[in-house]
Amino acid sequence: MKKTKWILGIGLLAVAGFFLVAADHIDAPAVQGGSSDITDFYAFQGENTNNIVFAANVMGLLSPTATADAMFDESVLIEFNIDNTGDNVEDLVIQAIPRDGKMYFFGPASPGTTGLSSTILTNNMLGSVDISAYGSAAMTNSYNGAMMFAGPRDDPFFMDFAQYSEIIAGNASGFNDPGSDTFAGTNVLSVVVEVPKSSVGGSGTINTWVETKRKQ
Protein backbone atom coordinates (compact mmCIF):
# COMPACT_ATOMS: atom_id res chain seq x y z
CA MET A 1 0.00 0.00 0.00
CA LYS A 2 2.80 2.33 0.94
CA LYS A 3 4.57 1.47 -2.25
CA THR A 4 1.44 2.09 -4.27
CA LYS A 5 1.15 5.54 -2.75
CA TRP A 6 4.80 6.23 -3.46
CA ILE A 7 4.42 5.23 -7.08
CA LEU A 8 1.28 7.31 -7.36
CA GLY A 9 3.23 10.24 -5.94
CA ILE A 10 5.90 9.88 -8.60
CA GLY A 11 3.17 9.73 -11.20
CA LEU A 12 1.66 12.97 -9.91
CA LEU A 13 5.04 14.67 -9.98
CA ALA A 14 5.30 13.61 -13.59
CA VAL A 15 1.84 15.08 -14.20
CA ALA A 16 3.12 18.35 -12.75
CA GLY A 17 5.88 18.35 -15.28
CA PHE A 18 3.75 17.58 -18.29
CA PHE A 19 0.37 19.20 -17.74
CA LEU A 20 1.53 22.78 -17.99
CA VAL A 21 -1.69 24.04 -19.45
CA ALA A 22 -4.21 21.78 -21.05
CA ALA A 23 -4.96 21.06 -24.69
CA ASP A 24 -2.33 22.96 -26.63
CA HIS A 25 -2.68 26.26 -24.80
CA ILE A 26 0.81 27.62 -24.16
CA ASP A 27 2.34 24.30 -25.19
CA ALA A 28 5.88 25.27 -26.02
CA PRO A 29 8.33 28.08 -25.20
CA ALA A 30 8.72 29.47 -28.72
CA VAL A 31 5.03 30.16 -29.26
CA GLN A 32 3.43 30.44 -25.85
CA GLY A 33 0.94 33.24 -25.51
CA GLY A 34 1.86 34.71 -28.90
CA SER A 35 -0.24 35.32 -31.99
CA SER A 36 0.80 31.97 -33.49
CA ASP A 37 -0.03 29.87 -30.41
CA ILE A 38 -2.74 27.40 -31.38
CA THR A 39 -4.96 26.29 -28.51
CA ASP A 40 -7.10 23.60 -30.11
CA PHE A 41 -8.03 21.98 -33.40
CA TYR A 42 -11.41 20.45 -34.26
CA ALA A 43 -12.62 18.55 -37.32
CA PHE A 44 -16.20 17.34 -37.53
CA GLN A 45 -19.12 16.69 -39.84
CA GLY A 46 -21.17 19.79 -40.62
CA GLU A 47 -24.84 20.45 -40.06
CA ASN A 48 -25.05 19.62 -43.74
CA THR A 49 -23.64 16.11 -43.51
CA ASN A 50 -22.11 16.43 -46.97
CA ASN A 51 -19.67 18.92 -45.44
CA ILE A 52 -16.69 18.71 -43.11
CA VAL A 53 -15.78 21.51 -40.70
CA PHE A 54 -12.29 22.55 -39.61
CA ALA A 55 -11.86 24.88 -36.63
CA ALA A 56 -8.66 26.25 -35.12
CA ASN A 57 -8.29 28.57 -32.18
CA VAL A 58 -5.37 30.83 -31.35
CA MET A 59 -4.50 33.20 -28.51
CA GLY A 60 -6.15 31.36 -25.64
CA LEU A 61 -7.17 32.54 -22.20
CA LEU A 62 -8.46 35.92 -23.35
CA SER A 63 -10.50 37.63 -20.66
CA PRO A 64 -13.67 39.38 -21.84
CA THR A 65 -12.01 42.74 -21.25
CA ALA A 66 -9.01 41.76 -23.37
CA THR A 67 -11.05 40.25 -26.19
CA ALA A 68 -12.12 43.44 -27.99
CA ASP A 69 -8.49 44.41 -28.57
CA ALA A 70 -7.29 40.93 -29.55
CA MET A 71 -6.43 40.73 -33.24
CA PHE A 72 -5.31 38.13 -35.72
CA ASP A 73 -1.71 38.73 -36.80
CA GLU A 74 -1.33 39.58 -40.49
CA SER A 75 2.09 37.91 -40.50
CA VAL A 76 0.68 34.58 -39.28
CA LEU A 77 -0.80 32.07 -41.72
CA ILE A 78 -3.18 29.46 -40.32
CA GLU A 79 -2.98 26.32 -42.43
CA PHE A 80 -5.23 23.26 -42.22
CA ASN A 81 -3.45 20.18 -43.56
CA ILE A 82 -5.24 17.23 -45.11
CA ASP A 83 -3.63 13.89 -45.94
CA ASN A 84 -5.98 11.69 -47.93
CA THR A 85 -3.45 9.08 -49.05
CA GLY A 86 -2.50 7.70 -45.62
CA ASP A 87 1.14 8.78 -45.51
CA ASN A 88 0.73 11.67 -43.02
CA VAL A 89 1.98 14.13 -45.64
CA GLU A 90 -0.44 16.86 -46.67
CA ASP A 91 -2.09 16.41 -50.07
CA LEU A 92 -4.31 19.45 -49.63
CA VAL A 93 -4.24 22.57 -47.52
CA ILE A 94 -6.78 25.21 -46.58
CA GLN A 95 -5.06 28.49 -45.74
CA ALA A 96 -6.41 31.43 -43.76
CA ILE A 97 -4.69 34.80 -43.40
CA PRO A 98 -6.01 38.20 -42.30
CA ARG A 99 -5.67 41.40 -44.30
CA ASP A 100 -7.22 44.72 -43.27
CA GLY A 101 -10.17 43.36 -41.28
CA LYS A 102 -10.94 40.41 -43.52
CA MET A 103 -9.87 36.78 -43.28
CA TYR A 104 -8.91 35.37 -46.69
CA PHE A 105 -9.18 31.66 -47.37
CA PHE A 106 -7.38 29.60 -50.03
CA GLY A 107 -7.89 25.97 -51.05
CA PRO A 108 -8.53 23.17 -50.48
CA ALA A 109 -5.71 22.76 -52.95
CA SER A 110 -2.41 21.01 -53.31
CA PRO A 111 0.39 22.98 -51.61
CA GLY A 112 3.34 23.98 -53.74
CA THR A 113 5.65 22.23 -51.33
CA THR A 114 4.82 20.15 -48.27
CA GLY A 115 6.32 20.61 -44.85
CA LEU A 116 7.47 23.52 -42.74
CA SER A 117 7.53 26.22 -45.41
CA SER A 118 4.50 27.58 -47.27
CA THR A 119 3.51 30.16 -49.80
CA ILE A 120 -0.06 31.41 -50.14
CA LEU A 121 -2.02 29.71 -52.90
CA THR A 122 -3.27 32.89 -54.53
CA ASN A 123 -4.53 30.98 -57.57
CA ASN A 124 -6.87 29.00 -55.35
CA MET A 125 -8.73 31.64 -53.39
CA LEU A 126 -11.80 30.23 -51.69
CA GLY A 127 -13.17 33.57 -50.54
CA SER A 128 -13.03 35.98 -47.65
CA VAL A 129 -15.10 37.04 -44.68
CA ASP A 130 -15.15 40.17 -42.52
CA ILE A 131 -13.49 39.37 -39.19
CA SER A 132 -16.28 39.50 -36.64
CA ALA A 133 -16.06 42.27 -34.06
CA TYR A 134 -16.33 41.55 -30.34
CA GLY A 135 -19.86 42.25 -29.17
CA SER A 136 -21.35 42.00 -32.65
CA ALA A 137 -23.11 39.13 -34.36
CA ALA A 138 -20.93 36.53 -36.08
CA MET A 139 -20.16 37.48 -39.67
CA THR A 140 -20.12 34.50 -42.00
CA ASN A 141 -19.71 34.13 -45.73
CA SER A 142 -20.35 31.27 -48.09
CA TYR A 143 -19.22 30.48 -51.61
CA ASN A 144 -20.43 27.47 -53.55
CA GLY A 145 -21.12 25.46 -50.41
CA ALA A 146 -18.03 26.52 -48.46
CA MET A 147 -18.53 28.64 -45.34
CA MET A 148 -16.07 30.88 -43.52
CA PHE A 149 -15.83 32.58 -40.14
CA ALA A 150 -13.08 34.39 -38.22
CA GLY A 151 -13.33 36.21 -34.92
CA PRO A 152 -13.59 35.96 -31.15
CA ARG A 153 -15.52 33.03 -29.64
CA ASP A 154 -15.91 31.37 -26.28
CA ASP A 155 -13.05 28.90 -25.79
CA PRO A 156 -14.76 25.55 -26.50
CA PHE A 157 -12.15 23.70 -24.47
CA PHE A 158 -13.11 22.58 -20.97
CA MET A 159 -11.13 21.02 -18.14
CA ASP A 160 -10.61 21.36 -14.40
CA PHE A 161 -7.06 22.60 -14.67
CA ALA A 162 -7.20 24.33 -11.30
CA GLN A 163 -7.82 21.02 -9.54
CA TYR A 164 -4.88 19.59 -11.42
CA SER A 165 -2.79 22.29 -9.82
CA GLU A 166 -4.15 21.35 -6.41
CA ILE A 167 -3.30 17.69 -7.02
CA ILE A 168 0.15 18.69 -8.19
CA ALA A 169 0.71 20.90 -5.15
CA GLY A 170 -0.14 18.00 -2.89
CA ASN A 171 -3.30 19.64 -1.63
CA ALA A 172 -5.65 17.10 -3.18
CA SER A 173 -5.52 13.39 -3.99
CA GLY A 174 -7.82 13.53 -7.01
CA PHE A 175 -10.42 15.46 -8.89
CA ASN A 176 -13.59 16.89 -7.40
CA ASP A 177 -17.01 15.71 -8.50
CA PRO A 178 -18.32 17.91 -9.95
CA GLY A 179 -15.20 19.64 -11.19
CA SER A 180 -14.85 23.27 -12.16
CA ASP A 181 -14.04 24.40 -15.71
CA THR A 182 -10.88 26.50 -15.52
CA PHE A 183 -11.51 27.80 -19.05
CA ALA A 184 -15.01 29.01 -18.28
CA GLY A 185 -15.48 32.65 -19.16
CA THR A 186 -12.42 32.87 -21.41
CA ASN A 187 -12.28 33.52 -25.13
CA VAL A 188 -10.12 32.64 -28.12
CA LEU A 189 -9.77 33.88 -31.68
CA SER A 190 -11.34 31.28 -33.96
CA VAL A 191 -11.11 30.40 -37.61
CA VAL A 192 -13.86 28.08 -38.85
CA VAL A 193 -14.15 26.82 -42.41
CA GLU A 194 -16.66 24.31 -43.73
CA VAL A 195 -16.16 22.66 -47.12
CA PRO A 196 -17.84 19.88 -49.09
CA LYS A 197 -16.42 16.47 -48.22
CA SER A 198 -16.01 15.96 -51.95
CA SER A 199 -13.32 18.66 -51.96
CA VAL A 200 -11.08 16.87 -49.45
CA GLY A 201 -11.36 13.23 -50.48
CA GLY A 202 -15.06 12.35 -50.60
CA SER A 203 -15.08 9.27 -48.38
CA GLY A 204 -12.89 7.16 -46.13
CA THR A 205 -10.58 8.57 -43.46
CA ILE A 206 -8.38 11.62 -43.79
CA ASN A 207 -5.55 12.63 -41.49
CA THR A 208 -5.60 16.29 -40.50
CA TRP A 209 -3.68 18.83 -38.46
CA VAL A 210 -3.34 22.59 -38.27
CA GLU A 211 -0.23 24.75 -38.36
CA THR A 212 0.65 28.39 -37.84
CA LYS A 213 3.39 29.79 -40.05
CA ARG A 214 4.98 33.24 -39.83
CA LYS A 215 6.00 35.42 -42.76
CA GLN A 216 9.78 35.60 -43.07
Binding site: Q45, V53, V192
Partner: protein, 191 residues
Protein backbone atom coordinates in the same frame (compact mmCIF):
# COMPACT_ATOMS: atom_id res chain seq x y z
CA UNK B 1 -6.81 -6.84 -30.19
CA UNK B 2 -10.14 -6.08 -31.78
CA UNK B 3 -9.38 -2.38 -31.43
CA UNK B 4 -6.00 -2.82 -33.07
CA UNK B 5 -7.77 -4.47 -35.95
CA UNK B 6 -10.15 -1.53 -36.11
CA UNK B 7 -7.34 0.99 -36.16
CA UNK B 8 -5.40 -1.01 -38.72
CA UNK B 9 -8.52 -1.07 -40.83
CA UNK B 10 -8.87 2.69 -40.47
CA UNK B 11 -5.29 3.17 -41.60
CA UNK B 12 -5.85 0.88 -44.57
CA UNK B 13 -9.03 2.74 -45.44
CA UNK B 14 -7.07 5.96 -45.31
CA UNK B 15 -4.40 4.46 -47.52
CA UNK B 16 -6.97 3.46 -50.10
CA UNK B 17 -8.76 6.77 -50.11
CA UNK B 18 -8.46 8.34 -53.48
CA UNK B 19 -7.81 12.00 -53.85
CA UNK B 20 -11.15 12.95 -55.32
CA UNK B 21 -10.46 16.64 -55.13
CA UNK B 22 -11.69 18.49 -58.13
CA UNK B 23 -10.43 21.99 -57.80
CA UNK B 24 -12.87 23.33 -60.36
CA UNK B 25 -15.76 22.52 -58.04
CA UNK B 26 -14.46 24.62 -55.20
CA UNK B 27 -12.17 27.31 -56.39
CA UNK B 28 -14.05 30.47 -57.01
CA UNK B 29 -12.70 33.43 -58.81
CA UNK B 30 -15.34 35.67 -57.31
CA UNK B 31 -13.44 36.80 -54.26
CA UNK B 32 -15.18 39.33 -52.08
CA UNK B 33 -13.24 42.34 -53.21
CA UNK B 34 -15.83 44.46 -54.92
CA UNK B 35 -14.86 47.49 -52.86
CA UNK B 36 -11.15 46.92 -53.00
CA UNK B 37 -9.06 48.56 -55.68
CA UNK B 38 -6.40 45.84 -55.60
CA UNK B 39 -5.75 42.47 -54.07
CA UNK B 40 -3.88 42.49 -50.75
CA UNK B 41 -0.27 41.41 -50.70
CA UNK B 42 -0.04 37.67 -50.14
CA UNK B 43 3.57 37.30 -51.24
CA UNK B 44 6.39 35.79 -49.25
CA UNK B 45 7.37 32.60 -47.50
CA UNK B 46 5.77 31.47 -44.26
CA UNK B 47 7.70 29.26 -41.83
CA UNK B 48 6.13 26.96 -39.26
CA UNK B 49 5.84 27.93 -35.59
CA UNK B 50 3.13 25.73 -34.07
CA UNK B 51 1.12 22.66 -35.03
CA UNK B 52 -1.72 20.76 -33.37
CA UNK B 53 -3.76 17.71 -34.17
CA UNK B 54 -5.00 15.60 -31.25
CA UNK B 55 -5.60 17.60 -28.07
CA UNK B 56 -2.90 17.90 -25.43
CA UNK B 57 -0.40 15.56 -27.09
CA UNK B 58 2.54 17.96 -27.07
CA UNK B 59 1.57 19.24 -23.63
CA UNK B 60 1.29 15.80 -22.05
CA UNK B 61 3.75 13.52 -23.78
CA UNK B 62 6.63 15.65 -24.98
CA UNK B 63 9.42 16.38 -22.51
CA UNK B 64 9.73 20.11 -21.72
CA UNK B 65 12.98 20.65 -23.61
CA UNK B 66 11.58 19.04 -26.77
CA UNK B 67 8.25 20.85 -27.11
CA UNK B 68 9.45 23.36 -29.70
CA UNK B 69 11.09 20.57 -31.65
CA UNK B 70 7.83 18.61 -31.68
CA UNK B 71 6.04 21.62 -33.19
CA UNK B 72 8.70 21.80 -35.92
CA UNK B 73 8.70 18.10 -36.87
CA UNK B 74 6.42 17.13 -39.74
CA UNK B 75 3.89 14.42 -38.79
CA UNK B 76 5.37 11.78 -41.08
CA UNK B 77 8.63 12.04 -39.12
CA UNK B 78 7.18 12.43 -35.62
CA UNK B 79 6.75 8.72 -34.92
CA UNK B 80 10.42 7.89 -35.42
CA UNK B 81 11.52 10.98 -33.50
CA UNK B 82 9.17 10.86 -30.52
CA UNK B 83 7.63 7.42 -29.90
CA UNK B 84 10.36 6.36 -27.50
CA UNK B 85 10.13 9.62 -25.52
CA UNK B 86 6.34 9.32 -25.38
CA UNK B 87 6.58 5.76 -24.05
CA UNK B 88 9.00 6.79 -21.31
CA UNK B 89 6.77 9.68 -20.30
CA UNK B 90 3.58 7.61 -20.44
CA UNK B 91 5.13 5.02 -18.14
CA UNK B 92 6.24 7.85 -15.85
CA UNK B 93 2.70 9.17 -15.67
CA UNK B 94 1.03 5.81 -15.31
CA UNK B 95 3.52 3.21 -14.02
CA UNK B 96 1.21 0.24 -14.64
CA UNK B 97 1.98 0.62 -18.35
CA UNK B 98 5.50 -0.62 -17.65
CA UNK B 99 4.13 -4.02 -16.65
CA UNK B 100 4.37 -6.58 -19.48
CA UNK B 101 1.02 -7.02 -21.19
CA UNK B 102 -0.56 -3.99 -19.55
CA UNK B 103 -3.00 -2.26 -21.88
CA UNK B 104 -5.54 0.52 -21.99
CA UNK B 105 -9.21 0.14 -22.85
CA UNK B 106 -8.41 0.37 -26.57
CA UNK B 107 -6.33 -2.78 -26.14
CA UNK B 108 -3.13 -0.84 -26.78
CA UNK B 109 0.00 -1.47 -24.76
CA UNK B 110 2.50 1.24 -23.94
CA UNK B 111 4.51 0.95 -27.16
CA UNK B 112 1.48 0.69 -29.43
CA UNK B 113 -0.43 3.50 -27.75
CA UNK B 114 2.51 5.89 -27.89
CA UNK B 115 3.20 4.83 -31.47
CA UNK B 116 -0.33 5.95 -32.33
CA UNK B 117 0.02 9.22 -30.40
CA UNK B 118 3.49 10.19 -31.58
CA UNK B 119 2.32 10.66 -35.16
CA UNK B 120 0.16 13.59 -34.22
CA UNK B 121 -2.61 13.70 -36.81
CA UNK B 122 -6.33 13.82 -36.19
CA UNK B 123 -8.05 11.00 -38.06
CA UNK B 124 -11.34 12.19 -39.52
CA UNK B 125 -14.05 10.05 -41.06
CA UNK B 126 -15.81 11.41 -44.13
CA UNK B 127 -18.47 8.70 -43.84
CA UNK B 128 -20.46 9.55 -40.74
CA UNK B 129 -20.03 10.21 -37.03
CA UNK B 130 -17.05 12.38 -36.19
CA UNK B 131 -15.91 12.08 -32.58
CA UNK B 132 -12.76 11.65 -30.54
CA UNK B 133 -14.53 8.88 -28.66
CA UNK B 134 -18.25 8.45 -27.98
CA UNK B 135 -18.29 4.96 -26.50
CA UNK B 136 -18.63 3.39 -29.94
CA UNK B 137 -16.61 5.35 -32.47
CA UNK B 138 -12.90 5.88 -31.83
CA UNK B 139 -10.78 8.62 -33.37
CA UNK B 140 -13.13 9.56 -36.20
CA UNK B 141 -12.66 13.30 -35.65
CA UNK B 142 -13.04 15.79 -32.83
CA UNK B 143 -16.40 17.36 -32.17
CA UNK B 144 -16.71 20.49 -30.05
CA UNK B 145 -18.57 18.72 -27.26
CA UNK B 146 -16.21 15.74 -27.00
CA UNK B 147 -14.84 15.39 -23.46
CA UNK B 148 -11.36 14.80 -24.79
CA UNK B 149 -9.51 15.33 -21.51
CA UNK B 150 -11.49 12.67 -19.68
CA UNK B 151 -10.98 10.32 -22.64
CA UNK B 152 -7.24 10.92 -22.48
CA UNK B 153 -7.15 10.59 -18.68
CA UNK B 154 -9.02 7.30 -18.97
CA UNK B 155 -6.60 6.03 -21.59
CA UNK B 156 -3.63 7.09 -19.47
CA UNK B 157 -4.84 6.12 -15.99
CA UNK B 158 -7.99 4.03 -16.43
CA UNK B 159 -6.42 0.67 -17.24
CA UNK B 160 -7.97 -2.06 -19.36
CA UNK B 161 -11.56 -1.32 -18.38
CA UNK B 162 -11.54 2.35 -17.34
CA UNK B 163 -11.82 1.39 -13.64
CA UNK B 164 -8.25 1.97 -12.42
CA UNK B 165 -7.24 5.19 -10.63
CA UNK B 166 -10.77 6.59 -10.65
CA UNK B 167 -9.79 9.80 -8.86
CA UNK B 168 -7.27 10.61 -11.61
CA UNK B 169 -9.09 9.40 -14.68
CA UNK B 170 -11.97 11.90 -14.81
CA UNK B 171 -11.85 15.63 -14.14
CA UNK B 172 -15.66 15.71 -13.89
CA UNK B 173 -15.92 18.67 -16.23
CA UNK B 174 -18.01 17.05 -18.89
CA UNK B 175 -19.20 19.94 -21.03
CA UNK B 176 -18.41 23.45 -22.16
CA UNK B 177 -19.47 26.53 -20.19
CA UNK B 178 -21.65 27.71 -23.09
CA UNK B 179 -23.81 25.61 -25.37
CA UNK B 180 -22.52 25.17 -28.91
CA UNK B 181 -24.53 26.24 -31.94
CA UNK B 182 -26.19 23.71 -34.21
CA UNK B 183 -25.31 25.84 -37.24
CA UNK B 184 -22.17 27.44 -38.62
CA UNK B 185 -19.91 28.73 -37.05
CA UNK B 186 -20.87 26.23 -34.30
CA UNK B 187 -18.63 27.79 -31.59
CA UNK B 188 -20.43 29.86 -28.95
CA UNK B 189 -20.29 33.64 -28.90
CA UNK B 190 -17.54 35.12 -26.72
CA UNK B 191 -17.96 36.11 -23.09
Amino acid sequence: MKRITYITLAVLLAAFTFNCSNDDDNMMGDMDNTNQPSEPDFSGTYMQEDQVARPAVNTVFTSPSSKDMFNMTIPSEQGAAFQSMFQTNLEGLSPAYANPGDMNALGLDSATFTGLLATDVLNVSLDGTTTFYDGTNVLTGRALADDVITVELLLIFGGEDFTENPTLSNDHVDANDKPFLTSFPYLASPW
